[in-house]
């Protein structure tokens, strides 16, 4: 299957400290790639490097067959993202925030904004200002913004933080639907291993800036009892080795 995101020997050194080192990743078209790692492992840095928010010190990122240069920006049209926590223009309404997003991306938005709000269950509060939103609502709206322009790739850093169990279930189902019906490629990180386990096709485990393993979920299911056990084994093994 064709790779949508290819990462080769990626490294990032900041003030003499290597936060990401020699990372190789291969994210295939139409798959959900679960990106796991402890806090500070380098997940967010890698995601930010894919979005060109952080410039790599070494290595190469290829998105949709285009090498990401420090000045690249056109490829971002194909990517919807949430990095860390979603931020909005608090004085604008949810609808206005999404409308503005579409205008910046250059996407015709007449029905898309309403559709996106409906998908994440916020259609009744579209005219409310963001300052009135709870964390969970903002997280849902962040997902709505990531999908509203129907991008080919979604990069979601901890998208279920702050969501209640119903919200988590809704988002899980939404991501699977986006993958199956629209062929969207999804790179998702989360602390909740069980959530990743239930939707991911491929898992990448990162620790202390190095990618320890990139493995198909089917292999994990066949060889290990569950993802959590596999993940902990990898991390603890790596920590002992260090």
């Amino acid at each position: 299957m064709e790779s949508v995101i290819r990462i080769r020997q990626l490294g990032k050194t900041y003030k003499g400290i290597e936060s990401v080192s020699n990372v190789h990743m291969n994210i295939k078209k139409g798959e959900i790639y679960g990106f796991l790692g402890p806090n500070g492992a380098g997940k967010t840095t890698v995601m930010r490097m894919i979005l060109n928010l952080v410039k790599p010190t070494s290595g190469e990122i290829i998105v949709l067959n285009e090498i990401v240069q420090p000045t690249s920006y056109l490829y971002l049209k194909n990517i919807g993202s949430i990095i860390e926590y979603p931020v909005f223009y608090e004085a604008l309404t949810a609808y206005e925030n999404l409308e503005l997003h579409c205008e910046y991306v250059g996407y015709s938005h007449k029905v898309a904004v309403e559709e996106a709000l409906e998908i994440v269950g916020l259609h009744r509060v579209g005219d409310k200002k963001i300052s009135e939103f709870s964390l969970g609502m903002k997280q849902r709206l962040g997902i709505a913004r990531a999908i509203v322009t129907k991008p080919d790739i979604l990069i979601l850093d901890e998208p279920i933080n702050g969501l209640d169990p119903i919200g988590i279930k809704d988002i899980r189902e939404l991501l699977v639907r986006l993958k199956e019906q629209l062929g969207v490629t999804i790179l998702i990180s989360s602390h909740i291993v069980s959530e990743i386990e239930s939707i991911a096709d491929t898992i990448g485990v990162i620790n202390r800036g190095r990618l320890l393993k990139e493995v198909k979920m089917d292999e994990i299911r066949a060889q290990h009892s569950n993802l959590e056990q596999y993940f902990l084994q990898l991390i603890m093994g790596d920590d002992q080795h260090a």
Partner: protein
């Protein structure tokens, strides 16, 4: 670029600043008028003629719009960094420097046109009210006002350039108070006046000072975005 400016205008609701602009115009005119009327009965009035009245009015205009622009700069640039919405902006398929250029162009343009508009309104008010409520004894002629148009445009351009200097201070710590405080200091510094009792002079009157400061402002504006596409977003 124009599209980005429109989006920025809409997003930051720049229209709402026109109300503040009107308040500034009324306040400047009110302050100068009161000074003129209250000093009119004295032996030596504060403003003997139109030129003297406009000298002080222009000092107020320059200070007010340097500070006004810093508020806009804080809202359009500094707040985006403080609220982390700049990260969102930089994930759009747009050149980062264009995004910042659009913001600075709004600040520059708003400052420039505000000064022109304020000067026009105050001149019209002086022209129409002076016969009824004299601000000064000497008569005022339309010709005098028309003659001041080139200077007004040039000054507006220089102040608009100077109004970009505070971004340097604001961006160091991504601080709105630092942006506005530096604007207050710059505004008062370049308009500070020394007088020997008979004649007075301000830094702004030495043409080299506003020209150099305007250039410094434009260079600071340029430096704020020229490397932006190649560096990490904090």
């Amino acid at each position: 670029m124009l599209k980005l400016m429109k989006l920025e205008w809409k997003k930051q609701r720049v229209n709402s600043y026109f109300k503040a602009l009107m308040i500034c115009i009324v306040s400047i005119f009110g302050a100068v008028s009161l000074m003129a009327w209250t000093s009119g009965e004295e032996i030596e009035p504060l403003f003997p003629d139109y030129a003297e009245l406009m000298k002080l009015t222009n000092v107020f205009i320059r200070i007010v719009f340097i500070i006004f622009s810093s508020v806009l700069l804080s809202r359009l640039v500094i707040d985006e960094y403080r609220n982390k919405t700049i990260q969102l902006l930089y994930t759009y398929p747009l050149q980062r420097k264009k995004i910042i250029q659009a913001k600075l162009a709004i600040v520059f343009g708003f400052c420039f046109f505000s000064i022109i508009l304020t000067s026009i309104i105050i001149n019209l008010l002086v022209l129409s009210l002076n016969p009824m409520f004299p601000f000064f004894e000497a008569p005022v002629h339309v010709g005098q006002m028309v003659a001041s148009i080139p200077t007004t445009i040039l000054n507006a351009f220089m102040i608009a350039g100077i109004s970009l200097i505070p971004i340097y201070f604001g961006m160091r710590k991504k601080s709105a108070p630092a942006t506005i405080t530096s604007a207050v200091l710059i505004g008062f510094l370049i308009n500070s006046t020394v007088s020997n009792g008979g004649t007075s002079a301000s830094l702004f009157q030495f043409i080299a000072v506003p020209i150099v400061m305007c250039l410094v402002g434009l260079i600071i504006g340029y430096l704020s975005y020229y490397k932006l596409d190649k560096i990490d977003v904090a």
